[in-house]
């Protein structure tokens, strides 16, 4: 089964890149049309209004700039990004190490695989509130939440990457008298790195989800706080603005990562 299907971005790429490269120009126009359609629909929905608590697109944008202007948006992101970045670094280092070890040694695979498979499929969100009750409402609990969501994804992708290295290349290395270490460093890791990087990208996506969950479920700080506060005082435009900014931020970061992945990691595998 096509493993790309598990990766929403790769599935999206797979669906779109299979045709001949259309003109850049054309894609840009379609993008703009798409955005216009979305914003237009939003504006209309707010004007109708479909719900008294549904602000128009324009009022949301206004609220967004207001929050950027008075610094609340920036402060909120700073507070939210701290545990996110720490959690992601921990998850990346730990995750890649465990995943690669799983790919290289059957015993590690046997011990670790079930745990991470369960963690990836299961609704780990259920555990987050309990984590907070035990570890307090500070940085630790939030970092743990990020790790809980990001680690399984990174581990499983790294493991899959190492396990699916082209056996012909390994044979080639053996035939030229490469030692096991040489096989690992010169063949396995380079061949696995695109999938490992894709795993990192998915892990970052999961980490985002983790931190937002943590902030919504636990005593909120940062972005979660903004959302909850504005909801409580019925500043719906501000609340929507914050939520939209989170979605946009997440999409933008992932786009950048995807670009990096295509450009630097495996330029010859673009679109495959």
């Amino acid at each position: 089964m096509d493993a790309r299907l598990e990766d929403p971005i790769a599935a999206g790429i797979a669906a779109q890149s299979d045709e001949a490269a259309g003109s850049r120009h054309q894609t840009l126009w379609w993008r703009l049309a798409s955005i216009a359609l979305f914003c237009g629909a939003w504006e209309i929905a707010g004007l109708v209004p479909i719900n008294l608590a549904f602000p128009t697109f324009s009022s949301t944008v206004a609220a967004f700039f207001e929050m950027v202007g008075d610094g609340t948006m920036l402060k909120a992101y700073a507070l939210t990004l701290q545990p996110l970045i720490i959690g992601l670094i921990v998850s990346a280092v730990l995750g890649i190490s465990i995943g690669v070890a799983m790919g290289l040694r059957k015993s590690v695979e046997w011990m670790a695989a079930p745990i991470f498979i369960v963690l990836q499929a299961a609704p780990v969100a259920a555990v987050i509130p309990m984590v907070t009750f035990i570890y307090g409402i500070g940085l630790t609990a939030k970092v743990i939440s990020v790790c809980l969501l990001a680690l399984p994804v990174i581990v499983l992708n790294s493991y899959k990457a190492v396990a699916n290295v082209n056996p012909s290349l390994i044979n080639m290395c053996r035939s030229f008298l490469g030692s096991r270490w040489q096989q690992i460093l010169k063949i396995i890791l380079p061949d696995a790195s695109p999938v490992i990087f894709a795993g990192l990208r998915l892990g970052i996506s999961a980490g985002f989800i983790g931190i937002i969950l943590a902030e919504l479920l636990i005593t909120p700080t940062g972005i979660g706080d903004l959302i909850t506060y504005h909801r409580a005082v019925a500043n719906y435009a501000h609340m929507y603005a914050t939520i939209a900014s989170v979605i946009v931020f997440s999409a933008a970061t992932l786009s950048v990562l995807q670009w990096v992945e295509e450009r630097w990691i495996r330029p010859e595998k673009k679109g495959s």
Partner: protein, 271 residues
């Protein structure tokens, strides 16, 4: 010139091959895969130094398996592989392998790929680049040193694989259907190039193919393997005058007769 054929299951020692020593011998090779798949049965062969021997047979006859066992990439269930009289169980510096699917590192340039065997042995970069460049020139890829595999055609990629095997200066070159993933025109060109290469490099070649014409065109000796379980069914030494142009060779009476004879011998194995 008439093709001489021998129908012995065992290797005739020294007769038509004059005083050529066997650089590689296999004795009593059996390979059984899990699930009782008997790939090779009681294979005894000698490979004379400096000659090009081809392993030929229908698919599933175990010729690639045998080649990998000789290379040390696969362990036989029973039997021994002897290189220059000494038993070996793993890859060694005297044998170099050329892969059917090229096995090039997609993230490395042609230069690095060709020098990879030397890199694994710890040679300094300057030295191995120098040797690599010479090999690249030998296979006709000068100017492509800084290209990546994805920028090359199938034929060119296989030249890189060949250059890599030449760079380590092994005594024996093992080629696993090297031209099967390449188009027909390039394939013919490769065959002609390989013949020319043989005149320069006094190496031993062990070749695996399923193409009868290719085998007869290139080989000093052809070992025919039967269907699974693979056993040696015939050994043929085509007596063909290879001094003419490629086209002359392909129209030579002896060449055509040998091809026909082998085809008749292998027909029984076609579904």
């Amino acid at each position: 010139m008439v093709a001489v054929t021998r129908k012995f299951p065992r290797e005739p020692h020294g007769e038509d091959m004059a005083s050529l020593e066997s650089i590689i011998s296999v004795r009593g090779i059996n390979k059984v895969y899990p699930g009782q798949v008997h790939a090779l049965k009681d294979v005894d062969l000698d490979f004379p130094a400096g000659a090009l021997t081809t392993l030929l047979g229908p698919s599933g006859c175990g010729k690639t398996t045998l080649l990998k066992i000789i290379a040390g990439l696969l362990a036989p269930t029973t039997g021994d592989v002897l290189v220059k009289g000494k038993k070996v169980t793993a890859p060694g510096p005297e044998r170099a392998f050329v892969f059917q699917d090229f096995a090039l590192m997609p993230w490395a340039t042609v230069l690095r790929n060709v020098g990879f065997g030397l890199e694994l042995r710890g040679l300094a970069e300057a030295k191995r680049n120098e040797i690599a460049r010479r090999s690249i020139e030998q296979v006709g890829l000068s100017g492509f040193e800084d290209k990546y595999p994805h920028e090359l055609s199938g034929g060119m990629r296989q030249r890189v694989g060949l250059a890599r095997a030449l760079a380590v200066d092994a005594d024996v070159l093992l080629l696993d259907e090297p031209f099967s993933a390449v188009d027909e025109q390039n394939r013919r060109k490769f065959q002609e190039d390989l013949l020319r290469l043989r005149e320069i490099e006094r190496k031993t070649f062990i070749f695996v193919t399923h193409s009868i014409e290719e085998a007869v065109y290139l080989s000093d000796r052809i070992v025919l393997l039967s269907r699974r379980p693979g056993q040696v069914s015939q050994i043929i030494a085509p007596q063909i005058d290879r001094s003419g142009t490629p086209d002359e060779i392909r129209r030579d009476r002896a060449y055509l007769d040998t091809v026909e004879e082998i085809w008749q011998g292998l027909r029984q194995f076609v579904d």
